[in-house]
């Protein structure tokens, strides 16, 4: 216990332990009650690496990325993010969360705030950025996701695709080192999926470290450095996209790919 504490404090002041990867997960397990959701997860992510996680529903892929910013608690194993160990220490959790942006399936924009206020809230309250500066940054990112003209509207007045792009801009306003995407296009109408994927591809081109849980295999082929396949709470197979799609090793991966690529 004392050892982890020291490591955590050391991490907090910047000197990282381990290999220097931006995310390191060692022997991580998670249970929901008696249900073993994540089993012995080992995963290292290098800075600027773009990872796509896929797998059948209930395979634990969302839970895995939600463990990285502690929306879910893991019960066994270690998670290091940006050199900081994820423990029950609220200070560490806060430090990690300000470096990790997250985009949700259902956008989760704050409906009582305007688009601009959604984007400036984090910088103002978490990073103590002056309001004027935060608004300038927010407008910059809203331009990057191509909806600066919607800044003064409320989320409820935008389409799904626009809302998701605002959600991406909102996360980017915190200038995170890592972006997590939890099925960002699953709740969208087909004609809106492309505008969100285009935004994500542009983001990938800027060198952002990205972990995406998604079923968009086209996206995986275009931008991913590595594709991870999960089933039954385990990482079954991981490979660079070319080999992953053309030459899947594991039987379950083959079955999954044949199912989603069949039509």
């Amino acid at each position: 216990m004392a050892e982890t504490q020291t490591a955590a404090t050391a991490g907090a002041i910047g000197s990282s332990k381990g290999s220097g990867d931006i995310i390191e997960i060692h022997g991580m397990h998670k249970w929901y009650g008696d249900f073993h959701v994540l089993k012995d997860i080992n995963l290292s992510v290098k800075a600027k690496e773009r990872i796509v996680i896929c797998g059948p529903s209930g395979s634990g892929k969302s839970t895995l990325i939600r463990c990285i910013n502690r929306l879910e608690e893991h019960q066994k194993g270690d998670i290091l993010v940006n050199g900081i160990e994820l423990t029950n220490d609220l200070k560490n959790i806060d430090l990690i969360r300000r470096e990790v942006g997250m985009v949700f399936q259902h956008f989760n924009l704050f409906p009582h705030l305007t688009v601009l206020e959604n984007c400036t809230l984090g910088p103002i309250w978490v990073r103590q950025t002056p309001k004027k500066e935060a608004e300038a940054i927010a407008m910059e990112y809203l331009e990057r996701v191509k909806i600066p003209e919607q800044a003064l509207k409320f989320p409820g007045q935008l389409s799904g695709g626009q809302q998701q792009r605002v959600a991406i801009a909102r996360s980017l306003c915190m200038s995170p080192k890592i972006m997590l995407f939890d099925e960002p296009t699953s709740a969208l109408d087909p004609e809106m999926i492309k505008e969100v994927l285009d935004t994500m591809i542009e983001l990938a081109d800027t060198g952002m470290t990205m972990l995406c849980v998604t079923h968009e295999m086209g996206f995986a082929k275009t931008v991913a450095d590595r594709v991870i396949f999960m089933d039954g709470g385990e990482i079954i197979e991981q490979n660079e996209p070319h080999s992953f799609f053309d030459n899947p090793q594991h039987e379950r991966t083959q079955l999954f790919l044949s199912q989603i690529l069949a039509h």
């Binding site: 910013n69 502690r70 929306l71 806060d94 969360r97 300000r98 990790v100 942006g101 997250m102 949700f104 259902h106 989760n108 924009l109 704050f110 409906p111 009582h112 809230l121 984090g122 309250w125 978490v126 409320f154 989320p155 409820g156 007045q157 915190m174």
Partner: protein, 379 residues
Amino acid sequence: MANTQNPDMTPGLVNAYEPGEHPDWPAPSSVKGPVHWIKTNLFGSVTNTLLTLLTIYLLYKIIPAMVDWMFIDAAYTGTSRKDCEAQASGACWAFIGTRLQLFIYGFYPEAERWRVNLTAILLFVALAPVLYDNVPHRGKALIFTVLYPLIAGVLLVGGIFGLEYVATDQFGGLMLNVIIGVTGIAFSLPIGICLALGRQSHLPVLRIVCVAFIEFIRGVPLITLLFVAAVMLSYFVPPGTNFDLLVRMLIMVTLFASGYMAEVIRGGLQAIPKGQYEAADSMGLKYWQSMRLIILPQALKIAIPGIVNTFIALYKDTTLVIVIGRLDILGIGRSSLADSKWQGLSTEVYVFVAIFFFISCFLMSRYSLYLEKKLHTGH
């Protein structure tokens, strides 16, 4: 027959417009306008027509008689019931008029009543920045609002700054209702919020304390609590402690409303999707930040009808102070009925009290509708 604006769309007729070129036509007059509204809403069916006619008949029977009694056939001057009866057969408002001061100020010394008036005017000044967010210098105005309870206390009770001391048992009438109502409303909301959050807390002790408090308050009638405040509290506090009876009532009424408020707000909190908490957490907001900036603004907005409901109930419950011997507007009214000169005028008293409460509560209800409209952001 075939007008140029709305070409007849009989089957077989070739569509006059290219696909995508069709203009927007105005709706036909049969689906809008006052005649249409009356036809569909008042005389839409046989039952509807019967109900409309019955309602009109009842209104015809009630309203003229009421207006007659209240205004046309009423007596406004006089010094006794006999004077009234000599003038008119309707309401005897002279009774209320001669005792209006008593109805408003209770037994507050006449020479000092300007202090009550000043406190009332300052109440509006203090309320303005809370109720409307486009008040000039709102920040400074809110500081005044926070200080207002203290200022009001000093003004009303006095005893310092050369103000003559007025014991709280001289407070009465409408002013007593307003003091208790406003205090209860102002303090029950923040206490209720804390109780609701405490009830949802992960800390077991805090949660149990909050649940026990809320369930106790909801399980006991307010009258009982007021009796406890008036009679029994002196057994619990150290001997010699003189705890003003009005303050004890204020505390009890506030705690009582807080218990109800907590449950109303908990309902609002439960309506907030989990994703809102997660989005706030994933940004790195701390617990109180995410509550204040994200969760409570949305939860309170949802809970507005329930909150105002509780406020109105509390305001009307202020008349219960009569059970511990304080005379509010209703108490003054009832005791006035004992005056032999005015005996038998109970209708006038109750109508007057009812009108006063109705106006206050109706304003609260209207304000809450305004607030709901203002906070509506299209979700």
